[in-house]
Symmetry: D2
Subunit: 463 residues, 4 copies
């Protein structure tokens, strides 16, 4: 990489995973429309064909109208080839297949346990972590060997445990995790500003927030737009739409989209705690006692969000793969559409092309003084050349502390259990999850069944 | 007070409350059999007649066979008189009457919430704290005014919040909370040593333990008898008696005693966490999700412990009051029987008459580094002249951390809410309790009903 | 204050002190050239005439060429009038007169102790603090009464202790301290970039640094310009100019200016510690053992900086006062010249008109985890609407830790001593200062003499 | 090892070093007079002949009048043999010879730097650590290999850095450092009690103290005998004997003994700080600016203590070796004389034969919350079976904090430098020592000269 008048040239990005995920295309779009970076992207996926398909798509993006920089895409056969000398490493992998995820999400239903996502927390999150984290460990060791100075950007869930594992495996790693859930909350507040004050088009970045918590259970303890304190506004709107739910816009109606929600969970949490829960309801609900929002499919419907069934995901995947083939073949045209994701902006800031203050997931070094040091937390951070430094978000308020400390303890325990490849060591995290109100023997039976269903990926484990 | 060859003479003890509690008599017995302290005990109770009854009993103890020191008992009409110039203050009060406690314990049953004690944690503990802590605040201010250098020993529940309030109201106070639950666990282990190794009569003090946690949810992370590691023993016994329960001795059969238990909850917690839960099952169960041990009266029976109904307490009180009258009148003889409590030994150590290492409840100044500083926790401490210094118990293990951090957060919040006399500020602690798996509106309805039932004591509160 | 299309109108600034200081005029210049703020400035000084003089000058600035916003200046007779309802409070006062400062700086010379500034640390800093901090306490209490929501910006030295006192007196205060010393280091590095790489005109804000330490003894542990690590550059330059000193530019020759320096002290500190000391040599030297840089006037000269004598300050003051009168009368023309100070930019960021990451002095809430919480430290912080949140700078490196921890302890002690108005309580800070290698009795004699010389301001103290 | 009615039999002790030190004989005497332990002692010394000499002496002790237990002594040719399966490891080694120590202590005198001991802190302590700590690392690795469950008791100086290195090399080690300096202070106070109150014969263990600090610069922040606060007593005595010095008893006159002192330094420190410095003046003085107590041999004499010259040590060694030969040969009779050291009592407590609360040097896990975690500090601790748990001593008072934090930082740095075998990394600790008020180049020249003088032991180092 070198700096010229055009900015940074020859930037090397390794993209691990993403063979089957639509938003790899989003990154391609964001990169090619970036004026002051260019370079190459190496694509590594355990499904080489999928990586090759993305190689073709990526290279075609250079020709799309609106492309202002050039990126060479290349699928690699090994992880090492992709990582070799990289400036940035992007991780976005699916651990195992949707068959294993099907067990993660749906096996607990036998015990009346419903999960809206099942990839972060709850029984599904724990078992997914057992499967995923050894892969992450391998990637971290690959970074250590092939590109120890690279910045590693993780998008894989469970986010917190993934980032923690990166640091466990390679303590000097420069890694952080990105998630757009907070952005969604900012966008919702922007709509509220329009409704209340008639100020339209406030960009989500203009909503200045103090972010605190852990990924997917992140909270805003302050929110301002210029001199307007947004808490009274949020309180008013959360009461006004408490029953009906909040429809962020015509196309955002949650009933039309399996990923959307009506913010009723967030509004209920605001009632309980007085702070703004800054993630989608599907995620928030999973960190709370099952009786609150996930007691039954009917309750979920009443709360205005959806259970993302894995059968839906499977169907969606088929469609996406087909779309990928059409895009690679040229049958379907490509277009540059800003994703609203921040990955490219973060890279620019790390290269010194701008300053950026945004929320990330990194180990606690003091940004949340009343959580254990070293635990991965989500707060704002300042991005500057070769540096991500967290902003002190302050102490977790005492009413939220029990919920968030619970998560931290559970996730620290699971990661340690994975490091030791000791599945039963993680059991207390599983059995004490608020979604799992089972007697010890039932909890154990469920855990063992779920492990059995994913055992192809747990060969190393003592169970 | 002065020191002579006989030890400390003229020791002044203020006893606040205890008018109706049997174990005030226990302290009298322990004091009069102590060879190197003598002095006076001032008795203050809002029921002056009860205090006067104890005055008579206390003075009669000087004449009992085996009495080796002399103590003058005197009931006082005001708190200030009792506290004036005291060396020690003992607090053991009942906040309100058993009618309020009846609501604390039984009102939640409407929602399927069962509590085995209802005075420490759970919905009953929170509402009891609202009622109790202003009284504790008043006592602390009395100490500040009348005997700022006194050592204050609390026996009142909820222990953790009471001690916290003492420090909130008078930060320079020298106070600690005592509880005998750990002793009971030590005694149980002593029986196990006998069963396994044939070593009889090991005194509970000889079982050396590392104590960590919060009162009534206290854990042993180490336990040794000489060079014997007691964890393998406990593990073996917990498995052997997992189903049948552990009967500590003929007279200890839990079925005969509303306060006793079969340790099945402790054994189940050992299975889950690998550490020894050092309190009676009635207490331990209340800190866990209701579904684990308190889902129904039948489940409680199966787990081998009892729900202490307040109607039973009321009957028991009538008996104790009658007993008090008989003892005061001389109708019933007094006898010196060692209680096994440590209050008198603690006083001796604080006067420099011995060294003592035992478990107490005091604010965290580093003894548990991964819990918030200032939160009241239970660990061992060294008692020496005019000094109680906690022993560093270490970090809460990550599998227990979520449970204990939850309690700490909840109790810190309730105490703060009481300081502000803001009942709704405490609601998140109530609604997030693992015994309260209710929707927000149901939780609020229950909370408000319970508050209504105790409103005579909450005149100062904003509700 | 209200927001319009023009930005923030009706901003109310209280300026406390500054009657005799040139740079009040700098703030006037910066304000009047700010496009998106306008309002009023109330001037309070114990010398009302001086404040009135500034009132005239300030109002005249509205007419100067290049003025783009309007500010009304008004001298007030009381502090309360100035503070009433203020949005911002600027503090820049001289405690006592230069006669007291003369004692602070020069009395220690009897014992061979030389101070280059004498207003921050060392014997002069301690005694100045005794005199100053009660005034600061009064201002803090005024803020509490008249404008509790105002942001308070301090420029007064000793900076660290002043900010600490503001928080001691009014713990909810929103205060921070600003200092331009780090900027000077950034500018010096900019020159080095030009010398080495031929890249001219790099703005100091483009030099991205991690700031850590305490005011006037602040260190850079990271410094980057785009992808250039500036540490090797600094190392090279510090060796190249180690003997000769570094002349930042023709007009910056330290020999021409009592405030300037040749960076030889900073270079020597770099040799010792491997980090960039980011303040002028005059300040840096005062935090080190006297034998290093301040053993004699000759040694100072050799190290390439100057002892700022108070007689020089007195002469300079006469000139500045005359200049003030000429400017007020119109005899001397006013001109808008950017000061390079950040006060106005900080105000804009606090109003939501921009985002700013810069270094400030605020209490430690986790930004430097291995210094005591609550101690005032200097690190970067993020300024956003109504919010200053520190960036986690990390732990003080162990080779610097002894020096910086020493300062923190000393300054905490002095502030506590002032709160108790107990001069002898501050004595250990005085006597353990590395500039004061005296035996106990000599240290005490010097301390008492210096106190005697400033006793007019210490009437409240127990000595 | 097994437990019988007689206590612990078959206890295995490895004694590393001690070949030439008189007090190995003291341990022999203490062991053989211990009623409830017996076993074997393996002696390893790089001087095998010296170890063999001690073997003979040790075995002869079993025959001395008053011997109540039996210990088999055996010199081993390798460290591993000595450590194999040991229950306890005692470390007491001299790094290098007195020739190297001669340089440590006396080379700095060229620059006017006088050291009274030169083995703990100051220039001598730093260079000695460079030489010693690799040996300690080797011992720690030996413990890891041969007896990972052993308790390791260190008596070697520099104590703090030695203990730190043990934990660095083998983080799971169970090690602590013992020092009798606090005992000496307790004995001095006992004499003061006799002088003031006429109470004779108060045992030093009855003086209850709160110990805080680092080895050889340890402080008492509380001291009580029964209900007597000993601070007013100490204050009175420190003033009474400030000028004359305090002679603890006829035989203790400091003028008669190179190791003794008159407490004038401790009294002067009490005047400065208001806390009791609990070590001999020879040690205390070395942690203070040289100008205070060590500016010249004359000043030292005036302060009432001695510079321990290495030539004296050399002579003393010759005498001790001769004495060893006489004792081994039977020419000189052995006698059991209690040493007043606590090593044997600590072993008994670790075996569960008693409870002991005493001061030790171990890593900070919360016992001193305002010092860095992990740094080795000295406080009280509770010894129980297989457990040493520190007592929370509280925060270092702010007037002492600068001095003690300085030491902690310096020692942490030196240990890290040794781990990296990077001598220049330790230079800032050397050059910032309060005994070394030299310019950078002089400090470096001295450092390099001292390193040169000990280079035979620094072959691994990058210099």
């Amino acid at each position: 990489m070198k700096f010229t008048e055009k900015g940074a040239e020859g930037v090397k990005i390794a993209y691990v995973g993403g063979g089957s995920r639509g938003w790899a295309w989003g990154l391609m779009s964001d990169l090619v429309s970036c004026t002051d970076m260019s370079g190459e992207v190496r694509l590594y996926d355990i499904d080489l064909a999928a990586a090759k398909c993305n190689e073709t798509i990526g290279n075609r993006f250079n020709e799309v109208e609106g492309a202002v920089s050039h990126w060479d895409y290349r699928a690699t056969e090994t992880l090492g080839e992709a990582l070799d000398g990289a400036d940035f490493v992007v991780i976005s992998i699916l651990p195992g297949t949707f068959d294993e995820m099907e067990s993660d999400v749906h096996t607990p239903e036998k015990y009346g346990i419903y999960q809206s996502v099942g990839d972060t927390s709850g029984p599904g999150g724990v078992v997914r972590a057992l499967r995923l984290l050894p892969m992450i460990e391998e990637i971290a060791l690959g970074v250590k060997e092939h590109c120890p100075n690279a910045w590693v950007i993780n998008y894989t869930n469970p986010m917190t445990m993934t980032v923690k594992m990166l640091y466990k495996a390679f303590p000097e790693i420069k890694a952080f995790g990105c998630c757009h859930e907070v952005f969604g909350t900012q966008r919702g507040i922007s709509k509220m500003i329009e409704e209340k004050y008639g100020i339209a088009g406030v960009a989500r970045e203009e909503i200045k927030v103090n972010v605190i918590g852990v990924n997917h259970f992140t909270w805003l303890t302050e929110a301002k737009y210029k001199n307007i304190d947004l808490f009274p506004l949020y309180k008013e709107m959360s009461e006004k739409y408490y029953e009906s739910g909040y429809v962020k816009g015509k196309d955002d109606n949650w009933m039309n989209n399996v990923f959307d929600c009506s913010c009723r969970v967030a509004f209920d949490l605001f009632r309980r705690y007085g702070y703004i829960a800054a993630a989608g309801d599907r995620h928030l609900a999973e960190f709370c006692p099952g009786a609150w929002y996930l007691s039954s499919p009917e309750a979920v419907k009443k709360w205005g969000f959806s259970l993302t069934s894995v059968s839906w995901r499977k169907g969606d995947l088929v469609e996406r793969l087909a779309k990928g083939r059409r895009r690679a073949s040229g049958e379907e045209a490509l277009a540059i559409v800003p994703t609203g994701e921040e990955g490219v902006e973060q890279m620019r800031a790390l290269l010194g092309l701008r300053t950026l203050v945004t929320n990330v997931n990194i180990p606690n070094v003091g940004q949340i003084p009343n959580l254990p040091m070293g635990a991965v937390v989500e707060t704002n951070a300042v991005f500057s050349p070769d540096s991500v430094k967290p902003v002190v978000a302050g102490e977790i308020p005492m009413n939220l502390y029990p919920l968030i400390a619970r998560i931290v303890g559970a996730q620290e325990l699971v990661v340690e259990a994975v490091c030791r490849r000791d599945a039963m060591m993680a059991f207390p995290a599983f059995a004490n999850d608020p979604l799992v109100p089972l007697r010890t023997e039932d909890a154990k039976a469920l855990y063992l069944e779920m492990i059995e269903n994913t055992k192809a990926y747990l060969a190393d484990y003592k169970i």
